[in-house]
Symmetry: C2
Subunit: 345 residues, 2 copies
DNA sequence: CTGAAAGCGCTAACAC
DNA sequence: GTGTTAGCGCTTTCAG
């Protein structure tokens, strides 16, 4: 309601407050920064003046002198991917809760990522959060050097802090679920959009359980262009995988998106899921819950991952974390839905 | 490769460049800002010095003196909603193309939106892009006042620029599609997560075509908590809508998410889509394309919407737009998939 | 505990 | 054309 008629008056600055409260700039500064050393009486006078003229500190000025911001740079993969979208949402939420703003840059291509990172660095972000990493690790490391703390969330990290789901355990659970249903020919399908490290860990979990059950591992790779599926470096057809004498009866996909593609695939070939083919995914994206999809999968606790990431980054900034990168992993839980069942006999 | 061993040397400033090139600060400034008035020879000397010491302008300093940034504030709805996620992705992409960075704030609740907006304003964003709007319009307007240009993308706007799909036309097309298939009892399902204005326009399109075909409009509203469906203010059961003598044979949902919920609903009641029930959605989110969903819908050209939004905002900032808010609407196209068919007889 | 003063790195008049 | 200079609004020594 103040300054009616002075619509375009410049916003009040710290000196306006100082003048009104009849103190010096620095005292006002001490008050707004919650410095320990200011007499209650002064503080009261200043706060009063602040509210009286509706003063708000100018973030831009503060940033300049501090040479740092309260902005987190977030390197995000394809937001069209529900897993990434949810991750981005949770990161924004938890950053916001801690008084941080987020600046998103896309990481679809190597080039875009590098440019985005440089930009984030120019803006002097307080920290960088990788939700996906498309660039070359070493180059990225060089770029960020010791400039700002960096945390990788559920994606590859050769350096910097890391929080992620326990992929190994999750994959073991998924594979055990299939084994315990009575499946013998269980394949692992690797979707290339899954980060290398995550894929490796999930595959390792799969292999471990297969070995322990005395079963032969069968590993396939999606290839998106030209579309196809590879076994080792040999191209295989969908027919071959799902029909024929050596067909598999169950598939563990390295992510939900791949699992859903598999579902489409089975539909087209007239193969019934779960009667003739069991499918397990990974991530538990929103899609997986749809009645028409109804996918058994390994859920990633995305809210918890985000919270842990922000918390870790904040602690790192506060200097209350050990020098070497910390790595935290959170437990993953299976969600059993309708895409898995005992094999037909 | 420079400054090995001086790892923590402070980054070079404009005066370092000036000294090296033996010119004044302002000449360097003129060069980096591409001011018209600087002799080629000088320019060369300066550019050379810049690359020699690896100078990068300090954005924070520039922001302080200009009192504005090259950051767009983006008010985004629920990123778990694929429509919003895709919109956010496209906005980031096009902003980035124009040299802008984006700061996302969430707008799930009224409170969160207000707080987010204040924060954006404190950061002196160059403009604000609404991808969703949960707050009270008038309060929001007051907050932003004449501070920064604002654009609404596919959401309510009583003021500020606007770009959106042509909801009226899209809804007409959708309804006509159903009518031309031979449906007579066609309902409109309003999902409350759709912005009021959009909903109104879509409903108007629906009503217009129904009237023109001499059919009775039947309007339902989702209610999320407690879950249910309302007709007027009377609660109706799913049974009542899809079974019984006065059952509808086709539904036009105000968005895809609602349409998919409808699909689940039909599945549970054992009603076959599209044989016994045709469903049309709105938006064409990624989900709609899945083989198991395969939804007929009205597609929103999200990339184009984003491009138009960024472009309009940039032009508004450049002052090359008329004073009153501009409103642009883009044509919507129907995508006919498997959820619609001629009614059973 | 408070005030005076020196910047942070850049832009933009305004002289020369 | 180019250099000089005065800020932008805040933090932070350093004296008192």
């Amino acid at each position: 309601m103040s300054n009616r008629g002075l619509a375009f008056a410049k916003p009040p600055t710290i000196v306006d407050v100082a003048r009104l409260a009849d103190v010096s700039k620095s005292t006002v500064s001490n008050v707004i920064r919650n410095a320990n050393c200011v007499k209650p009486e002064m503080r009261a006078r200043v706060t009063q003046a602040i509210t009286a003229i509706g003063y708000r500190p100018n973030i831009l000025a503060r940033q300049l002198v501090l040479q740092r911001t309260k902005i987190f740079g977030v390197v995000v993969g394809d937001l069209a991917n529900p897993f990434h979208a949810e991750m981005a949402k949770q990161i924004e939420r938890h950053a916001s809760l801690q008084g941080y703003r987020v600046m998103f840059v896309n990481s679809q291509t190597d080039m875009a990522e590098a440019a985005g990172l440089e930009s984030l660095l120019e803006y002097r972000v307080a920290g960088i959060i990788f939700l996906a990493h498309a660039g070359m690790p070493e180059r990225t490391r060089q770029l960020i050097a010791g400039k700002v703390p960096t945390i990788f969330v559920a994606c590859k990290a050769d350096w910097g802090d890391l929080v992620s789901g326990d992929d190994l355990q999750g994959a073991k659970d998924a594979t055990r679920h299939l084994v315990s249903l009575g499946h013998r020919r269980i394949a692992y399908f690797a979707d290339p959009i899954v980060e290398d490290d995550a894929d490796r860990a999930r595959r390792a979990g799969y292999r471990a359980v297969m070995a322990e059950a005395g079963l032969l591992p069968i590993v396939f790779h999606w290839r998106r262009s030209p579309p196809g599926v590879l076994r080792g470096n040999r191209e295989v057809t969908h027919q071959e995988v799902l029909h024929g004498p050596k067909r598999v009866t169950a598939i563990f996909s390295s992510n939900d998106l791949g699992a859903i593609e598999l579902l489409d695939w089975a539909d087209k070939l007239g193969i019934k899921v779960p009667e003739q083919l069991s499918i397990v995914g990974f991530d538990d994206i929103v899609l997986a819950k749809l009645a028409r999809i109804n996918l058994t999968t390994v859920a990633q606790p995305q809210a918890k991952l985000a919270e842990l990431a922000i918390d870790t980054l904040a602690r790192r900034l506060a200097g209350s974390l050990p020098a070497p990168p910390v790595r935290k992993s959170v437990e993953l839980n299976m969600v059993i839905r309708g895409s898995t069942a005992v094999p037909e006999r």
